[in-house]
Symmetry: C2
Subunit: 157 residues, 2 copies
C-alpha cells in the first residue's frame, strides 16, 4: 500500500500556483535582497509547525510581528489567487487584538469574499506543506464560490 | 434673513437618534463612571474641531489613542443606527497605519455596508455638532441603501 502510494502520481505542492504565489509574496517584502540566497523551501519553513513546535510556542503577550507578517502573506496569496481566478480585485484587511485573537477579511468590491476569525495567532502555521497548500486552496475555492454567488456586489463600485 | 432663520423650526442635533447613539457609545466605555458628572455636550466636545483647533493639531507621529477611540465610537454609532433601521447586524473593522492613514469598513453578513478611507486621522473631528450629525446620517443612509441593493449578501451566513 505504501508502495502504491509512492507510485501514484504525486503532485509536488511546491509547484502549485498557490505556493508559488505565496513565495512571491514573501520575496516581495525582502527589499534588501537578504533572502536572495534562500531557497523557496527555506522561506516556507516558518509556516510549517509540527505538534512539538506548536507546543513550544508561548501564548502569552502579543503575537510576534513575524507571525503577523506570515498571516498577512498567507492571506495575500489567497487574495491574489482569487483575483487570478475571478478577475475581481481582492484586498485583505486584518485586525488583531493583543491576545492573538483577531479577524481577517478579504474584500472584493462590496463583497466579503473570505472571512476568518483568527485564534491562537501566536501559533499560526500548518502541520505540513501539503496542509498549507490545502488550506490555501480551500479558502481560494470558498472565495471564488462567494464571488459566483454575489457577482454584482463583488464588482460594485 | 437671520431672524427668519432663527424663527424657522430648528431641530436640535442633540436629540437626534444618531447623536444619542453616539453618546451611549461614549458612555459605554466609561467602566468606572468617571464621566457620570459630564454632560452629553462635554462628551461630544472632543469631536468638534473648528479650523483653529484643527491647525493646532500636529500631524507627526501616530494618531493619539483617544482620537482612534473617537473614530471607533463614531463608526460604531453609525453601525448601530444602520442595524436599527435595517435589522442587519453590522460590525466595524478598522486598520490604521502609523501616519494616520487607514480604512474603516462596516460589515453586515457578506456585505461591505460602508467603506471609508481614513486620512489625517490625527485631525478626526467635525466643524460643528450639526456637521457631526449630518456626516453620521449620510453614512447611515448610504449603508441602508447598500443593504437595500444587496439584501441577500447582507443577510448571508
Amino acid at each position: 500500500m505504501s508502495e502504491a502510494a509512492l507510485l501514484s502520481p504525486i503532485i509536488n505542492p511546491m509547484t502549485s500556483v498557490f505556493i508559488q504565489t505565496l513565495i512571491r509574496q514573501i520575496r516581495a517584502i525582502d527589499g534588501f535582497g537578504a533572502w536572495d540566497g534562500k531557497s523557496d523551501a527555506d522561506l516556507l519553513e516558518p509556516f510549517i509547525l509540527d505538534a512539538e513546535k506548536r507546543k513550544a510556542l508561548l501564548m502569552i503577550d502579543n503575537p510576534d510581528p513575524d507571525v503577523l507578517s506570515r498571516v498577512e502573506q498567507f492571506y495575500n496569496a489567497v487574495a491574489l489567487s482569487i483575483e487570478g481566478r475571478s478577475g475581481v480585485m481582492v484586498q485583505s484587511m486584518m485586525t488583531m487584538h493583543p491576545e492573538g485573537f483577531g479577524r481577517m477579511v478579504l474584500l472584493g468590491g462590496r463583497l466579503v469574499v473570505v472571512s476568518k476569525t483568527l485564534r491562537d495567532t501566536h501559533r499560526f502555521g500548518f502541520a505540513s506543506l501539503e496542509k498549507l497548500q490545502a488550506e490555501g486552496e480551500k479558502l481560494i475555492a470558498q472565495g471564488v464560490e462567494m464571488i459566483g454567488r454575489f457577482p454584482e456586489a463583488a464588482r460594485y463600485g
